[in-house]
């Protein structure tokens, strides 16, 4: 068969889903694979550093997630990949721990402090914010290219309600019962989403495809 080589397995990008004990790994694994990458789930720092793309998932409480991430050297890994311009995508609590700190039940836990800002409980009646919501990506967002009007699946009670949009930093907002919070950030090689693209059906797959295309 004289088929073109494009699209063959050896041309696929390699993505590591960072395994640091924060559930949801299989979902992230198969969703990224569905979006066209070869995926390995591991905590091995060498593989995580060398991968074309790194996915940092996250489920549960901020402090527990940060502790698990720290145990596998996650904050250093992320910092190195950012410094080297290597793409990293953080999801849900993985997104939250990129900020300065999180406040849960009055207790402040430090985050990776890549971005300035606090993760705090949304000031709304209906919590958790659970389900499919719209987002407001600004013009030029690579993450939301072609899927600006889709809904994505959110499950969270905490969020970042202030983040400056600087040159080079694209911030996508969402809203729940009038409270606005950061739904996604794109800054250089580091992208993150508060929602779960791996649970967001075809829209989520399209978003992950947008990310894989940058690898």
């Amino acid at each position: 068969m004289s088929t073109p080589t494009a699209g063959r397995a050896d041309g696929r990008k390699r993505v590591v889903v960072l395994d640091y004990g924060s559930g949801n790994l299989r979902s992230a694994e198969r969703a990224v694979a569905h979006a066209g990458a070869d995926v390995v789930v591991t905590a091995d720092p060498e593989q995580a550093l060398a991968a074309d793309g790194l996915v940092v998932p996250g489920v549960g409480a901020f402090a527990a997630c940060m502790a698990g991430l720290t145990d596998v050297g996650g904050p250093g890994l992320i910092a190195r990949r950012v410094a080297e311009g290597r793409p990293t995508l953080a999801i849900c609590v993985g997104h939250q721990v990129l900020f300065d700190a999180g406040i849960e039940h009055g207790v402040r836990a430090p985050g990776c402090a890549v971005w300035p800002g606090l993760v705090e409980q949304l000031a709304v009646q209906r919590l958790p914010h659970m389900g499919w919501n719209t987002v407001e990506p600004p013009a030029g967002s690579g993450l939301f290219a072609g899927i600006e009007d889709e809904r994505f699946y959110f499950v969270h009670s905490y969020g970042v309600r202030m983040l400056a949009e600087t040159p080079g930093r694209t911030v996508t907002w969402a809203e729940h019962e009038g409270d606005r919070f950061v739904a996604a950030v794109e800054e250089g090689p580091l992208w993150s989403t508060q929602f779960h693209p791996e649970k967001s059906g075809e829209a989520g797959t399209a978003l992950l495809r947008n990310w894989v295309a940058t690898l």
Binding site: G23, N24, R26, S27, R30, A31, H34, V59, G60, A61, Q125, R126, L127, P128, H129, M130, G131, W132, N133, T134, E150, R151, Y153, F154, V155, H156, S157, E175, H176, E177, E198, K199, S200, G201, E202, A203, G204, T205
Partner: protein, 257 residues
């Protein structure tokens, strides 16, 4: 701009197979929950719920395999319930690929298990499932039932929902035993009564017969609507339910999964 009302088909799974009849479009195997889950995903289901009605250990093991295979193919949230009583049960289901787990009788027997589960996995993973019926014996006029609605638990359903929400469940699935199977519509008074005392998302279940039955449940305070038989028999399509909810002025997600 607000979160969409979720439409959730529910599958009763017994030893790895769908029970209660399924009468549906071109299925190779109407009893396979994985295939049916995938069909519902393509039809626009916002989540899937599996209720494991297996009694045997072997049956539960088979269900875990079904959860695993479903999570491989369906890219929307999956809730699994039935026989969940401990942190270990939840851990097993989450590892198999469930996103949320629903708990019922075991939480009533030992309410501390709610805190044990949510402290470990977060509030968002735990759905309290309440099978309730009208009763003159409780203050709210609604009581919790067990054994598929045949027995009274002697507990006020509205009080129990409020207490479970305080203990930390992330969501409440309210099933009306009186309305279940009648196709006469949801028990709106029951939805209103529970809505009045909890802030967590509320899923209404029981009684839907037509697409027009769903919007009133939303008006009564439901954040999501769940049904089984009407979807399995194709009496009502998920898209029709969404259209009806949308026509009533509530947001829905129109894309397929």
């Amino acid at each position: 701009m607000s979160v969409a009302v979720r439409v959730i088909p529910c599958l009763d799974v017994h030893e790895g197979r769908v029970v209660k009849g399924v009468n549906f479009v071109d299925l190779r195997d109407a009893g396979d929950p994985v295939e049916l889950g995938s069909v519902y995903g393509h039809e626009g289901a916002d989540e899937l719920t599996f209720l494991d009605v297996s009694a045997s250990v072997e049956g539960r093991r088979t269900t875990l395999d079904v959860v695993r295979r479903t999570a491989e193919t369906v890219l929307i949230p999956l809730t699994v319930g039935g026989g969940v009583g401990s942190v270990g049960d939840v851990d097993g289901l989450l590892r198999a690929g469930a996103d949320k787990v629903s708990i019922n009788t075991a939480a009533m027997r030992r309410p501390e298990v709610i805190t044990e589960i949510t402290q470990r996995f977060g509030n968002q993973v735990l759905v309290l499932s309440v099978d309730a019926r009208r009763s003159a014996a409780t203050p709210s006029g609604f009581e919790v039932t067990t054994h598929g609605g045949r027995q009274s638990a002697g507990v006020d359903a509205v009080e129990w929902a409020a207490r479970a929400a305080e203990l930390g469940v992330g969501e409440i699935l309210l099933n009306s035993i009186d309305a279940d199977g009648t196709t006469d519509g949801f028990d709106l008074e029951m939805i209103r009564a529970v809505r009045a005392v909890v802030d967590v998302p509320l899923i209404a279940s029981g009684g839907a017969g037509r697409a027009e039955d769903f919007p009133p449940a939303v008006a009564a305070g439901a954040d999501a609507v769940l049904a089984a038989t009407v979807f399995h028999f194709g009496t009502v399509r998920i898209s029709e339910v969404k259209q009806a909810i949308r026509d009533a002025g509530y947001p829905v997600r129109l894309g397929a999964a």
